[in-house]
Symmetry: C3
Subunit: 304 residues, 3 copies
């Protein structure tokens, strides 16, 4: 078996073989995730869910993944219902829930929390997002979505669009794509360009990167438009923000003549117009669904 990770902390801990192993296993999981087949692969097993920050998609898709495999979950959906309100520190809480569980999923607003937790508990730890840090299972499902819809990852032309400076999702995805043979374009306003050190790392990995501030420039040579939100707070001048927001909004009109599929990690606010939702190109809800089989594959792989 190719996969020998105990913890799922950062996509950078995985090599191409690991990732391919998970994507393949996720494909086997899909009929179960779609409720077309039953499984009791994880029956009797318990997943501890420590969500110090609220999250619908990530939390519910982990729960769905565990339950579709016959397992159960325990935990909390926000810090308020945990002993955090009594002043108990994170260390004690995770050690205790680790004692009750066969694996832990943790989301926290502080970068580095997942790695810290993995070092103090015996059971496998899956990072479900730690602040500005990593969210590796999101990247896995992004890759799975491309492969599932377009049949491959190698040779794809992928444009990452929006806030490339602060978005942890696009950072992780960029590193993961560097393990494949792809064409990557970075499309962002000049204020929100991909950080230099990431560009540097990618070029060291042999990835050809193209930077532009215009979606139009890449649209007809792109297979995947991966869109992220540009936040108002990034711009001191509201007028500047409005102008930029307009230029990075995906509409069905913009997509006319393009074959690109549109992906988004969600939640979106208005960076993708609702008229894209029901087109053959708008695939972000399907992408959200793929979180379930991908997380099933990961849970099945780490829980003994």
């Amino acid at each position: 078996m190719a996969f020998n990770q105990k913890d799922i902390i950062s996509i950078r801990d995985f090599d191409r073989k690991d990732i391919e192993y998970i994507l393949k296993l996720a494909e086997e999981m899909e009929p179960i995730a779609r409720s077309k087949k039953k499984s009791d692969a994880l029956s009797g097993k318990l997943l501890g869910m420590l969500f110090y920050e609220p999250s619908t998609r990530t939390r519910l898709s982990f729960e769905a993944a565990m339950k579709r495999l016959g397992g159960s979950t325990i935990g909390f959906a926000e810090a308020g219902t945990s002993s955090a309100t009594k002043g108990e520190n994170l260390t004690d809480t995770v050690r205790i829930v680790g004692e009750y569980s066969d694996a832990l999923v943790i989301r926290h607003n502080m970068e580095g929390t997942a790695r810290f937790v993995a070092n103090i508990v015996d059971v496998p730890v899956i990072n479900a997002g730690d602040g500005a840090g990593q969210h590796p299972t999101q990247t896995m499902l992004d890759l799975y979505t491309m492969k599932r819809i377009l049949g491959r990852i190698d040779d794809l032309r992928i444009a990452l669009v929006g806030d490339l400076k602060y978005g942890r999702t696009v950072h992780s995805l960029a590193y993961a794509l560097a393990k494949f043979d792809v064409d990557v374009s970075f499309v962002s306003p000049k204020e929100l360009k991909m950080p230099h050190e990431i560009l540097h790392d990618l070029s060291k990995s042999g990835v050809d990167v193209y930077e532009t501030d215009s979606i139009h420039e890449v649209l007809d040579k792109t297979d995947v438009l991966y869109v992220t939100r540009i936040q108002k707070e990034r711009f001191p001048d509201p007028a500047e923000y409005l102008k930029i927001k307009g230029a990075y909004t995906i509409t069905s009109k913009l997509l006319e003549g393009s074959d690109a599929i549109v992906m988004h990690p969600l939640p979106r606010i208005d960076e993708i117009s609702h008229d894209v939702d029901n087109t053959p190109q708008g695939r972000y809800f399907e992408q959200a669904f793929y979180g379930v089989p991908v997380r099933m594959a990961l849970l099945k792989s780490v829980i003994k």
Copy 2:
């Protein structure tokens, strides 16, 4: 099979045959709901629970129903632990949770939400109350309670008591009773009478309706007293409210000499005195229990 509803949105979508089908199936479910028999009819299945408004009875009885049938649930119990706090709109959240689940149960404070949701997701949607709108599973369990305790619905003499103007429960129940051959009395203060359009609809359906402001007038010719709360906010004058409240409070003394059973959708505050709780007439806790077999019947019918 008589039952071919995909979504459970309004009791008005059901004809008598549909309702009878569910009541019959609920009877088969009862031993499982009482933990006297086991079932894995929905094992491997997932119910998405979207409770934008808190609720104990409705939420927990849906969960109990799903779990007694071997299924699992995912979701949230209040808007706070969902991505609603990140500004994600309802549409995206329900589409995503719909992707993870085999059916959705939704409660929301805005009338029409359930129908709206049913139109945008592929899986069956069950309305667990949408504001001033509908709460059809409550009506089903009300009917089941009558049939279960009194052996039939036809020929019953039923008095709906309390706030008949604003109470969505009594509106739905009135429409449902119109499908049967019953005697209905509406007992309310004159400020809180059943709305004209509902009276009109009922009379078109051939139901004989009697209106009064006095419980005493109907008490000895009633099989079922269905009591609802009169809210203080409905009365500008607190003294007027107190007087009226007194006249519509059910006590064991009031019930002396009557054979009527007392039902209530709960929660009650003080419109039924606690001395009724343990009498053979006070059946509202039993009624609450019947929410489980009725919802089992509905879940079993809509989840494929």
Copy 3:
């Protein structure tokens, strides 16, 4: 079978035979709690969890216990997501959830709540802590921890340390230890001594009790140091509090030369230094884990 309790309200309701029965059964549960064996002993069964006060350890370990045995849970983790916010009284809520469930676990901030609830519902009730009152399953797991680690309870020398005046945990534990043949020391600042009536009860039970304000005095003749938190609020003078806190803080340095194991009901704040966590003496995380097999034994015993 020795065990014939329906409700688990106070450790004082149990005789030595009952306790030994549970401890023995907990040992059989341990491999299942550790996920080394599977069980469906409670499959199809529902545990109602009514947590009016938040709690991580107690709530999650009950959930883990129920789920490891193949059962399910319903309920709420804080009063906010229940109908309590609509003004529904406790009595109605517990009767309703009692109708849905095969047993109830309740935590509430008001002493006596669990006994009150046990009197109004038909299903077994387990007290998960009612304010200044009882928390019997904590005491059971405390006893199990001693027996499991040290091989016996009889003949152990046990020091209860910290706030012995207000701590419900040490009160219950003291009563339970009185059923065994043990040596008990009470170590506390003079302001926080064990209440007279408890000392009196213990001496009537034939327990030899030793009181002191110095840990050092008992350290080399103690098998178990059971530590509890001293709360700042107990002292009008902050300087006095700081002085006392220092004298009752357990550090690995303090433990040098002692063989005692260190237990704590958790959460701890700083009364046990983190350098004790990974020593062979610091056993409080293991103790927390034992909450699972002990609660499995109790659930299995009361749910029919």
